[in-house]
Amino acid sequence: MKKLLSELSEDKAAKIVELKAADTKLACRFYELGLIVGQSVKVLKKTSKGRALLICIRGYCLAVDKQTADLVVVDE
């Protein structure tokens, strides 16, 4: 089921299916950090109301805010 990365529950993993980063620099940063289509990603922790997320990607931890996580579409 397709959903935004920010909507993924804690401890759930999913595959990235789309990146909606309009800002090319931000998109570029996503790719460099391993946030690419087909890559699996796991949500480790969410702060209250899910405004910031801690995700695990390619074996390391990345903290992102909700606005950034909203640009990543995943398939659970």
Binding site: R29, E32, G34, I36, K49, G59, C61, V64, T68
Partner: protein, 646 residues
């Protein structure tokens, strides 16, 4: 040998290796983006002198932040130099992206896999044969471990490395990164013999991120930092150093007396110059202890975790999680808190620097204690608490309004969380020493100059003649004129104004200045009692005392804080901060004094009129700025399409 450039992802240990190779003490931390500029130093590499350059961390050769731009420009300008590409053994997959890009560009590189001691399952010889460049496992902190790397630097030859995916590169960033990742996946499957441990998911992390424990743990950590820095340990160190300094002053005084120099020159040297140096020295123990604590927490990886936990709440007022530490430390000392804003991005740094003076620093506490002892002896805890709370609430409201009116969109928060690493004592001490040295270098000169300026103002007459009578000094003369401005605030008294002016140099001096004015010596009780007597040189009414307290709470930060602001943010911003705090303090004191006076005089209508006039003024100011920032094209106060047209 050519120059050697240290390149790698953020937080991979470039500066640690730089320090080991060059015997330097550059600041390092377990936190991305510690290095923001290029550092160069000559080093002796196996008998040959060569220049070693430490670049800010980069994820790829596409710049995203100003620091990355600096690094990439430097790399492009030094194409023939030898590159030591530092990779983190814990995160080889992502680090190899940059390695491959460097090879594609035809750079001569040696790959140094740092923190190799933490990961045992990497086949380095296989990695070297696949990449066709030397791959050396290192622990950048240890000299012995770096020996293998130094040896390989002598033998490196220039050769174009053939990469099997090179024909698939299209020039489109996403496609190229995908090609590289598929090659990296192949390499990793061959060279990593068992699955790497995912960091950031340890039991400690689970406790630190726990929604019930995160805030109490943070408060406990901050309390510990406060106790160490501003409590008995810090104070005892300060007393010890001040004692040594006092002895030094005695020796210099005796020497000057023997030289038989004129009284004014003696006073200038002892009170102005040496006194100014004393103010720097008195800060040092607290600065060293504060930086020791901060470095320890930074190296531990706790700072990045706190930034993540608090980012959510602080974003609402235009700050990021990284500001939390500076804000909390602001209650101890604005100067030291301002120093900790260095690692923040420019926009967040400005916002944090704007909010910091609203956090009441510990130097203001003696003034609160004095006024409360004089006027609110029964409710002093409540009054002091209200002052702290008022400062915080006002600061948050002003920052939130500024954020609302700002055209700038908050930057996306993407931050790598480093693993928890217990730092060594020697590293923590080295970092603290470097920071303390930098503090003296940056602020020391300004403080001494300011101290000399205050000496000139308080010891010379308008005719530039030396005087021992403070009433005849330029400072007192100026205060007499300025005092008129403070009449509407309820303390238009010459000595109260002198105390405020001296308080700009150091807030600690306000009480001693009032004590000199009323001639009651060092007794706090006697001074407090004298402030209630209308016959004293300085006295207040109850409304005037509250107004004075509010002014002390909000007016300009001290010279050392301003000079740090000028160095860390900009001179323009330091001037703005000075004027802005003064205006805010004046406005708030005016309103509070008039409301309380009206209340005491049972002039409720006058009080209501004051409130209404104030509300109307605020509405007009907010509307003016909103109108100023409005985009004509999209009719919004914040233009999403960045199509601002005035």
């Amino acid at each position: 040998m050519n120059n050697i450039i240290l390149v790698g992802n953020p937080n991979t240990g470039k500066t640690t290796l730089f320090n080991t190779l060059t015997k330097s003490n550059n600041h390092v931390g377990n936190w991305h983006g510690v290095t923001v500029d290029v550092s160069e130093k000559l080093a002796d590499i196996r008998g040959e002198k060569c220049k070693i350059c430490d670049l800010p961390g980069i994820y790829s050769l596409n710049s995203y932040t100003p620091e990355e731009e600096v690094a990439i420009k430097y790399l492009n300008a030094h194409k023939g130099d030898l590159i030591v590409n530092i990779c983190d053994a814990n995160n080889l997959q992502r680090n190899l992206q940059l390695t491959l890009q460097l090879l594609e560009m035809g750079h001569r590189i040696v790959v140094a896999v740092n923190m190799a001691n933490e990961v045992k399952n990497i086949n380095y010889s296989k990695l070297a044969s696949t990449l066709k460049v030397p791959v050396i496992p290192i622990d950048a902190r240890k000299k012995k471990s770096v020996a293998g790397l130094l040896e390989s630097l002598n033998n490196i030859q220039h050769q174009q490395v053939y990469l099997p995916y090179i024909n698939k590169l299209t020039g489109k960033i996403e496609e190229d990164i995908l090609s590289r990742y598929s090659f990296i996946d192949k390499i990793v499957s061959e060279v990593i013999t068992s699955e790497l441990k995912t960091y950031g998911t340890s039991r400690i992390d689970k406790v630190l991120y726990n929604k019930f424990l995160a805030v109490p743990i943070f408060l406990l950590v901050m309390l510990t930092v406060f106790i160490i820095t501003f409590g008995a340990i810090g104070q005892n160190f300060s007393i010890l150093i001040e004692g040594w300094f006092a002895k030094l002053v005695d020796v210099v005084s005796d020497f000057l007396i023997k030289l038989n120099i004129s009284p004014w020159a003696y006073s200038l040297l002892v009170q102005g110059v040496i006194g100014g140096m004393g103010s720097v020295v008195s800060f040092l123990p607290q600065i060293v202890l504060l930086f020791m604590c901060m470095n320890f927490l930074e190296d531990l990886g706790y700072l990045s975790r706190v930034a993540f936990m608090f980012d959510n709440s602080l974003k609402k007022i235009g700050l990021t999680g990284k500001s939390v530490f500076s804000l909390v430390l602001g209650f101890g000392c604005t100067t030291t808190a301002m120093l900790t804003t260095t690692g923040l991005d420019k926009r967040t740094q400005k916002r944090t620097a704007m909010l910091l003076p609203f956090a009441s620093c510990s130097a203001k506490l003696p003034v609160y204690a004095l006024i409360c002892a004089a006027f609110f002896a029964k409710n002093k805890v409540l009054v002091v608490f209200s002052l702290y709370l008022f400062g915080v609430i006002l600061g948050l409201i002003i920052t939130a309004i500024t954020n609302k009116l700002s055209k700038q969109k908050s930057s996306p928060f993407i931050m790598e969380i480093p693993p928890i690493r217990v730092p060594t004592l020697s590293k923590t001490l080295k970092n603290a020493k470097t920071n303390a040295f930098n503090f003296v270098k940056r602020v020391g000169g300004t403080l001494v100059v300011c101290s000399v300026v205050v000496w000139v103002l308080s010891n010379l007459t308008f005719g530039f003649k030396y005087t021992v009578n403070p009433e005849e000094s330029i400072l007192c003369g100026l205060a007499k004129y300025i005092a008129v401005l403070f009449k509407p605030l309820g303390f238009g008294n010459t000595w109260a104004v002198v105390a405020l002016l001296v308080g700009i140099v150091a807030k600690e001096m306000v009480v001693s200045c009032l004590s000199i004015a009323n001639g009651v010596g060092a007794s706090l009780e006697a001074l407090a009692a004298s402030l209630t007597l209308t016959t004293s040189a300085v006295s207040f009414t109850t409304a005037g005392a509250i107004s004075f307290l509010v002014f002390i709470l909000l007016y300009s930060p001290c010279v050392s804080a301003l000079s740090v602001t000028a160095r860390e943010v900009s001179r323009k911003f330091a001037v703005f901060s000075f004027v802005f705090q003064f205006v805010i303090a004046y406005g708030c004191s005016f309103v509070i004094y008039n409301l309380i006076s009206a209340f005491y005089a049972k002039q409720i209508i006058e009080a209501l009129i004051t409130i209404i006039v104030l509300a109307v003024c605020i509405v007009f100011v907010v509307r003016y700025f909103k109108q100023k920032n409005k985009c004509i094209a999209c009719k919004g106060s914040y233009c999403e399409k960045n199509c601002l047209q005035k």
